[in-house]
């Protein structure tokens, strides 16, 4: 969120702290949902359970504040508009004592409210109404946040790309990529999953040319795809924008 003040430390996800189960399955993520509106609470709990989380529900601010501190959860989903002890009070009470990130959920959307929530230690903010998928995505990304830095050697399909050495191998054999092609590929791979416009690619990768024209990017990408063989599918054309590096789940490594 743009409003997050820089001095507020991010709370480390507690997911890492939990021991793996004996069977070797990934540990179940346990969430605490604090929501007083019965139908909203039911919707959230069902949705989160369907997404594979263990969910505890609290409908009262005081109870929630106690459980956030004393119980072990991986993440708390906190509604701000609670009867009695409000969401801001809960945040204030558990500040510096919460063991897990708190995702604030509220119908209030004014900037001062958002800022206040972040100042009181909220890790993320979601405005009502929202998609349960959106909440799940936010929770997952919040729990994943402390994952290791992106790898510098990227493998997908039959391709291995070394971002530092700026070399590529296809089916174990080195391929010769022109500086422009390697620049385009590196730029896309480093921004995996994000669409990049032709003009930005032209600016970044064709800077050495006298006349960086957005459309020449297309011909470079076409040549690049031919050289990458079966790995070419990971460079996806994005309608109206340009390209995106997105290896399909099975071929990514």
């Amino acid at each position: 969120m743009e409003a997050r003040p820089s001095h507020i430390p991010r709370v480390a996800p507690a997911g890492k702290l939990r021991a793996e189960t004996m069977s070797g399955e990934p540990p179940r993520v346990r969430l605490l949902v604090v929501e007083d509106d019965a139908s909203t609470a039911a919707g959230i709990v069902r949705g989160l359970k369907a997404a594979g989380f263990d969910v505890d529900l609290s409908t009262d601010g005081g109870d929630a504040a106690r459980r956030v501190v004393s119980e072990r959860h991986d993440l708390v989903v906190l509604d701000l508009n609670l009867p009695g002890m409000g969401g801001f009070d809960v945040l204030e009470t558990v500040r510096h004592r919460a063991r897990c990130p708190i995702l604030v959920l509220t119908a209030r959307t004014d900037l001062p409210d958002r800022l206040r929530a972040f100042e009181l230690g909220a890790a993320d903010y979601l405005a009502k109404p929202f998609w349960i998928e959106e909440l799940v995505a936010r929770i997952r990304s919040r729990l994943r946040m402390a994952e290791e830095a992106p790898k510098r050697v990227v493998r997908w399909a039959c391709v291995m790309l070394d971002l530092d050495a700026r070399t590529a191998e296809v089916e174990g054999k080195p391929v010769t990529l022109t500086p422009t092609e390697i620049a385009i590929l590196t730029f896309l791979v480093e921004r995996r999953g994000r669409a990049i416009s032709r003009s930005v690619l032209a600016e970044q990768a064709l800077a050495s040319l006298d006349d960086p024209d957005a459309r020449t990017v297309d011909s470079h990408v076409a040549r690049l795809r031919r050289k990458l063989g079966s790995g070419a599918g990971a460079i996806v054309t994005v309608w109206g924008i340009g390209y995106r590096f997105e290896p399909s789940p099975g071929e990514s490594a």
């Binding site: 139908s39 900037l111 109404p129 929202f130 349960i132 959106e134």
Partner: protein, 408 residues
């Protein structure tokens, strides 16, 4: 209360103007009335004095006849045939006064010099039909206003101004304030209602979303999907209503001192739009610069403005369609383009997009929901943040919405 300050200045200015105009015009009116009375009184008296004493003296020596009067005034005789006097010291005959008395004897006209407020002027008296003494003009030199009149002048203005201000306050400001108070209460109420609606909409939304996903019956599925679309629309409508109510209260998202990172907002809006778009079979993608693109605008307002445009593109797009949101930054300016390959808008209606309450006929036919509030809010936020909003056609089909402005 909010009206009192801006209106007070105007009421005071209007009151002062009323005071000056009222005082000056009352002085002219007073002069006109008094002189009419003087004329009525003077006519027989002057006739009598003339016939009894001065007629013979004038006719005996018209070239030297003149009578000195009080306050430095002098009377001279004139010939109506030549409109001049035989006495070389006589000033010219006032033509305007002569025009009033020329028809016959025993008539008097009196007049000041020009529009001057100072005392002074001339009196023309028709004494006979013809001859060098048939017209007598008395001229008295202009004299400064007397001290008491000068003292009354500003007091008169002040009094008139105070009276006008008091009247203005009771007749205009008070009733207007009452109207304004009601309007504000209504506006606040609207904002509160919009806010309170979010919780039930949220639970509806959650329930419908999961019902759609868990449903196996195609017909029921279609109904549920449509209802889910309605909640998406309702959610946007309540957010827009709340923002409209805040902006009508005078809130300006461009001057709150807050900064928004457009890059982050683009991602946030597109991420959220995807959930709805996915269900409609529409692909939404975005591209943004690596670093932040900071603009002077309240982030909530900027998000709402962009969200309205993206949601429009998703709502009116067709299954299999695309929406692309591209944010670029160059030389201290940003350009944000939202394009789609949906049905677009006829060229004749493009200039009216963004107008309050305007909705294109085609949009109305395709989907009777909607008030056109979304794009109006976007347009208002852009205006208040100093951004340029423009609409165009995407080739071969679709709409292209472009927002440009300054960034840091």
């Amino acid at each position: 209360m909010r009206l009192r300050r801006p209106l007070a200045k105007r009421v005071i200015l209007a009151a002062v103007l009323c005071g000056i105009v009222g005082f000056v015009s009352s002085r002219f009116a007073w002069r006109a009335v008094t002189w009419a009375a003087i004329v009525r009184f003077h006519e027989p008296l002057a006739d009598y004095t003339w016939e009894a004493h001065e007629k013979m003296r004038c006719e005996a020596s018209p070239a030297t006849w003149s009578i000195p009067l009080a306050h430095g005034a002098h009377a001279y005789a004139y010939d109506p045939a030549t409109l001049s006097s035989l006495n070389p010291e006589a000033p010219p005959l006032r033509r305007d006064l002569w025009a009033q008395v020329e028809r016959g004897p025993a008539r008097v006209a009196i007049g000041a010099r020009g529009l001057s407020l100072a005392s002074g002027g001339a009196l023309v008296h028709r004494t006979g039909d013809a001859g060098p003494c048939a017209v007598v003009q008395t001229v008295w030199p202009e004299q400064p206003l007397q001290a008491d009149v000068l003292a009354w002048f500003p007091m008169g203005i002040l009094f008139a101004a105070a009276a006008a201000a008091g009247l203005g306050f009771f007749l205009i400001v008070r009733p207007l304030e009452r109207v304004e108070r009601h309007r504000q209460e209504l506006q606040r109420h609207l904002g509160d209602v919009a806010h309170d609606l979010k919780t039930p909409i949220a639970s509806l939304h959650l329930a419908l979303e999961q019902a759609v996903d868990g449903n196996r019956d195609a017909e029921v599925g279609a109904l549920l999907s449509r209802a889910l679309g309605d909640t998406v629309y309702l959610a946007a409508l309540t957010s827009n209503l709340r923002m409209a109510s805040e902006m009508r209260e005078g809130w300006n998202p461009g001057t709150t001192g807050a900064q928004a990172d457009l890059g982050e907002i683009v991602e946030r809006v597109v991420d959220r739009a995807r959930f709805f778009a996915k269900r409609r079979g529409i692909d939404v993608q975005c591209a943004r610069p690596d670093g932040p693109t900071k603009v002077d605008c309240d982030p909530v307002a900027a998000e709402q403005a962009l969200s309205n445009v993206v949601q429009n593109a998703v709502t009116y797009g067709e299954s299999g369609g695309h929406v692309a949101v591209v944010l670029e930054r160059r030389d201290g300016r940003f350009s944000l383009v939202v394009s789609d390959d949906g049905p677009g808008v006829p060229p004749s209606e493009i200039p009216r997009l963004g107008e309050r309450t305007f909705r294109s006929d085609e949009a109305r036919q395709r989907d009777p929901r909607g008030s056109g509030l979304g794009l109006a809010i976007t347009s208002e936020v852009c205006t208040r943040c100093g951004w340029a909003l423009s609409f165009g056609r995407e080739e071969p089909r679709g709409l292209r919405v472009s927002i440009t402005g300054a960034c840091r």
